[in-house]
């Protein structure tokens, strides 16, 4: 917002201004008289007359005709008293001097009149410039990409600084009156100036306000001016100015303000609505993706459980005891998988709703691995895991519940992608270049690896290739949890075979794990 000089558009304090002009005029007059007085007998009577024109004109330039007139009268008297013989009386003896006196008075009055008119024209031009500047200032807000609330603040701020009421308020129809529960159709959306008290608020928003407020001046509150903001005959809101008296010119300026503000508010409201719709759409898309991913991930273990159970029920006579044991084990593992998926989903919704709170504690790396293995149940056989922990690794500083989920998800993914009984390597090291504030954990499998173009996508919940064969929710959730810890997760591009998932976690910079 540009700097707005205090003071009303139309020169407030004209009275004061005139006094200044008159004071300057009289001071000048006194000075000049004092200057000329010692030499008065040597001067021609025309000289003082010409010299004494000056203060009257200066006065007229400074504050217009009144000062000029005062200057004229004072000059007239001073001229007569001090410079026209006989001195120190108002008596004029010579007819010649009468003429000099009359010419002085006429000339000064006419010139003062002209000067003050010029001055008025200049003031008018200034005022017009100022008006167009104000309008320009407001219209900048129309073009600018302000949000609705920024725009409203801008409007009341501008009006407040230009018209200087006690306060300015912008009243808008309540966007959702049911939700606010107040039953009132109007609410103050923005205000400026002095704080509004409860009575002000009530009187501004009280019912039946529509018709009353459409008029420029409010009968019930004489020192209040209300202007309706209307766009194509549809009221957008009401601009209310308290304790202000407006000249005709200011009213029309306020009207123009109001029209522009109405358009801007209308536009901003439409844009807000569009934004909100897009946001809802985005949330909806996210939900659908989550639902799709979740139902796919839940169905996969369910399919093998049902197949195994129905086999057991149907073919119990033909199944060998070894087969039966294998099917039962499968059912147990897949049930674990289902349970883990549900835990993951629950955590995911907690992240989304913002209810997730990190509870960092110091954990040793091998404890984290053990916790992840425990949460995997029997999905990954402990014999397949090879842990590589260097000496002197610092303690990890993290929410071990969440981070063990991350490790478990990554391990589960590795298990799924690699041949049975192949080794899965879990390693940790101080992250290079991190000034020892982070530890890098990597999980390397022996599977076919992840294609270059899929290395980003595997962490994306929306990823889906050709209707199937998706990475599942596990890695997407891992990513969310790692990022909640301020870390990163990626697929290492520099492995010769298999896939290596790497993620960083915060660590305790002071304490190292006992060797």
């Amino acid at each position: 917002m540009t700097d707005v000089t205090p003071g009303k558009l139309v020169t407030r304090g004209t009275y004061q201004h005139n006094l200044v002009g008159i004071a300057v005029t009289l001071a000048g007059l006194v000075a000049l008289v004092a200057l000329m007085l010692p030499f008065r007998s040597h001067l021609s009577i025309a000289i003082p007359a010409l010299v004494l024109v000056v203060p009257a004109l200066v006065g007229a330039v400074i504050s217009g005709f009144p000062a000029g007139a005062v200057g004229t009268v004072a000059g007239f008297l001073a001229y007569d008293w001090f410079f026209l013989p006989p001195y120190n009386t108002l008596t004029v003896r010579s007819p010649q001097n009468w003429i000099a006196l009359a010419v002085y008075a006429v000339v000064v009055l006419i010139v003062a009149q002209l000067v003050s008119k010029l001055r008025g024209a200049r003031e008018e031009a200034l005022r017009r410039t100022e008006e167009s500047e104000r309008l320009f200032e407001l219209s900048k807000a129309l073009i600018g990409d302000l949000t609705l609330s920024q725009l409203l603040t801008h409007i009341v701020g501008t009006v407040q600084s230009v018209f200087m009421p006690r306060w300015t308020a912008l009243v808008l129809p309540d966007a959702n009156p049911e939700a606010s529960g107040s039953g009132e159709a109007l609410q103050v959306a923005a205000s400026a100036g002095q704080a509004m008290n409860d009575d002000d608020l009530a009187s501004v928003t009280s019912g039946g306000g529509q018709a009353r407020s459409l008029g420029l001046v409010d009968d019930r509150a004489p020192r209040r001016v209300s202007v309706a903001l209307v766009v194509s005959l549809r009221p957008v809101g009401i601009l209310v100015l308290q304790d202000v008296q407006l000249a005709e010119r200011e009213r029309s300026l306020l009207g123009t303000f109001a029209n522009q503000a109405a358009l801007a508010v209308d536009r901003a409201q439409l844009r807000d609505q569009a934004l909100r719709a897009r946001l809802l759409e985005e949330v909806d898309r996210w939900r659908r993706a989550l639902m799709g991913a979740a139902s796919h991930d839940l169905r996969t273990p369910l399919a093998s459980i049902k197949t195994a159970v129905s086999s057991l029920r149907q073919d119990h006579t033909r199944l060998g005891s070894e087969d039966r044991a294998e099917l039962l084990e499968l059912i147990e593992l897949q049930s674990d998988r289902l349970a883990r998926l549900l835990t993951n989903l629950l955590d995911m919704t907690r992240i989304e709703s913002g209810a997730l709170e990190l509870r960092p504690t110091a954990v040793a790396f091998d404890e984290l691995v053990a916790e992840a293995m425990a949460s995997l149940g029997g999905i990954v056989a402990p014999g397949r895991i090879m842990v590589d922990e260097p000496q002197g690794l610092p303690l990890l500083l993290l929410d071990h519940v969440l981070m063990s989920q991350v490790l478990a998800n990554v391990l589960e993914n590795a298990e799924r992608l690699s041949p049975d009984d192949s080794v899965i390597r879990v390693a940790a090291r101080t992250a290079p270049g991190s000034a020892a504030t982070r530890v890098e954990i990597s999980v390397t499998d022996d599977g076919p690896g992840i294609a270059r173009q899929d290395r980003e996508r595997v962490f994306d919940m929306f990823s889906q290739n050709g209707g199937g064969g998706r990475a599942g929710l596990g890695l997407a959730i891992a990513k969310a949890f790692v990022e909640a810890h301020g870390g990163l997760i990626w697929i290492d591009p520099d492995v010769e075979r298999g896939a290596r998932v790497v993620f960083t976690v915060p660590c305790d910079t002071l304490v190292t794990a006992p060797a």
Binding site: L302, T307, S311, Q314, R318, L330, D420, N465, G468, G469
Partner: protein, 236 residues
């Protein structure tokens, strides 16, 4: 002992199916990927393929098409619930039947039995050169355009006979509306599934099969001609 190839990327489902089908007396082969599946069909020559539509490398539909380029082996597709469009696409791509996950072994076995039986019936002289088709008690004489049910002749219009002959030629296979319209009505048709509905209704009436036990409706997909004595377990 039929040789069954099971294609799925979920190892635990493969395992459950391997155990279940082996117990039933099948010889079970497994494949984790689409490419592996196509190779195994070519090399091992299975009698039946159970194919999951969601595979990591190739789309299941593409696997169907590639197998159909060189083999008529019956394909039963495993699909996710609610994936009607892909089911229809798979059937149009040459699959014989589908089972929706999760499924019980009884349902799967019924489907496999139907698919195997009719594949066996179709073998020998190819379907194009067959003159007579038997589906259960139904006999279709393609040369004389006559059909009998348990020896009694059915009075059919030309179009009704064509529809019945088409379904009989593909007995055991789920025929989509689209396939039926294109092959029976002509290439210009494809979306007018109400035609098929009207004619199947008339056929059922003439065959005394109002409940649709022989000429089975597969909801949202199409029709399947199955012998009345062993109807597969109801789908979905």
């Amino acid at each position: 002992m039929p040789k069954v190839l099971v294609v799925d990327d979920d190892p635990s489902l493969l395992k459950a199916l391997r155990i279940g089908l082996t117990a039933r007396g099948d010889e079970v082969l497994t494949a984790h990927s689409g490419v592996d599946a196509v190779n195994q069909v070519a090399l091992a020559g299975p009698d039946l393929v159970i194919l999951d539509l969601g595979l990591p490398d190739l789309d299941g539909l593409e696997v169907c098409r590639r197998i159909r380029e060189f083999s008529g082996v019956p394909i039963v597709v495993l699909s996710a619930y609610g994936d009607e469009r892909r089911k229809v696409e798979a059937l149009d791509s040459g699959a014989d039947d589908f089972v929706t996950k999760p499924f019980g072994m009884a349902e799967l076995e019924a489907r496999l039995r139907v698919a195997l039986r009719h594949a066996a019936a179709r073998q020998g002289d190819g379907p194009e050169h067959t003159t007579d088709i038997d589906v259960g008690d139904l006999h279709v004489d393609l040369v004389h355009h006559m059909a009998t049910l348990s020896g009694a002749q059915l009075q059919l219009t030309a179009k009704e006979f064509e529809l019945l002959a088409y379904l009989a030629r593909h007995a055991g296979k789920v025929c989509t509306h689209h396939m039926i319209l294109k092959d029976v009505w002509g290439p210009g048709y494809g979306a007018e599934s109400n035609y098929v509905r009207v004619y199947t209704h008339r056929l059922r009436k003439k065959m005394g099969d109002e409940e649709g036990r022989v000429l089975k409706t597969v909801p949202g997909i199409g029709y399947q001609l199955v012998p009345g004595d062993h109807p597969p377990a109801p789908n979905e």
